[in-house]
């Protein structure tokens, strides 16, 4: 927080309450910080993919050969960070989540008793929540 803002807030609140006040900066938990970084990472990656697809579909500009190494580097970092099982889900989220009609392909989970459950990952937060359900520590040791 800007020091001038802090001074202004302290001055006006102290005047109103007729007593000194303290400005406390809230600390985000490490877990929440990591969640926010993860979600931002997924959002940025998705936006990059969308831009690339748009260039190809609307302007017929194919940058695949140019961009592929960058996406490959990020994919491999995801693989190193999360392990193969979670990487497969992240990869599904980026590349297989939508079908040709633009609808979401659900993940099908089959329980031990054979009951099928459809999981729809609509947002990066859904993805994070699903991954954390599979491995609660998937970001914590990094």
């Amino acid at each position: 927080m800007d020091n001038e803002i802090k001074i202004n807030l302290e001055e006006e609140f102290s005047k109103l309450f007729n007593s000194p006040v303290k400005i406390k900066i809230k600390k985000q938990s490490i877990e929440l910080k990591k969640k926010n970084v993860f979600i931002s990472l997924i959002n940025t990656y998705e936006q990059a993919l969308e831009k690339s697809n748009k260039l190809q579909s609307e302007f017929d500009i194919d940058l695949f050969n140019y961009e592929e190494p960058y996406f490959e580097v990020i994919d491999k970092l995801f693989l190193l960070m999360c392990g193969l099982d979670l990487y497969d889900i992240i990869s599904y989220y980026f590349y297989e989540r939508y079908n040709i009609e633009g609808n979401i392909n659900p993940i099908i989970e089959i329980s031990e008793s054979g009951v099928e459950t459809e999981i729809y990952l609509k947002t990066p937060e859904d993805l994070y929540n699903y991954l954390i359900q599979i491995n609660p520590n998937f970001l914590m040791d990094k």
Binding site: M1, D2, E4, I5, N8, L9, E11, E12, F13, L16, F17, N18, S19, P20, V21, K22, I23, K24, I25, K26, Q28
Partner: protein
């Protein structure tokens, strides 16, 4: 315990902050928060109360225990100004309870 109020400032100049804190609804919410938080904390080991959050800045405004009576006095003055004498009585009682330990 009541939820900590969030105060929104359109800008953080002295004048901007002053305008928001002069708003009668905000004053009411802030002094209510002071009264309720101190009432719920003075018998505990808490050393401060959080009066309000400023979520835009991820910050909070707190008052240390040594200043609780002063803050309650300000809350009392405010309630006198709006002629809420029922709340005045409760604040007066709380001040006395704190002073009597």
């Amino acid at each position: 315990m009541k939820k900590t109020p969030n105060i929104i400032f359109p800008d953080y100049s002295l004048e901007g902050i002053h305008n928001v804190l002069s708003n009668s609804e905000n004053k009411k919410v802030l002094f209510e928060s002071i009264f309720n938080k101190i009432k719920n904390s003075y018998k505990t080991s808490k050393k401060e109360i959080i009066v309000c959050d400023i979520i835009q800045l991820e910050a909070s405004i707190s008052i240390s225990k040594v200043n609780w009576v002063k803050a309650l006095q300000a809350a009392l003055d405010y309630n006198v100004s709006i002629e809420d004498y029922s709340t005045c009585t409760q604040i007066n009682k709380l001040i006395k309870d704190i002073q009597n330990g």
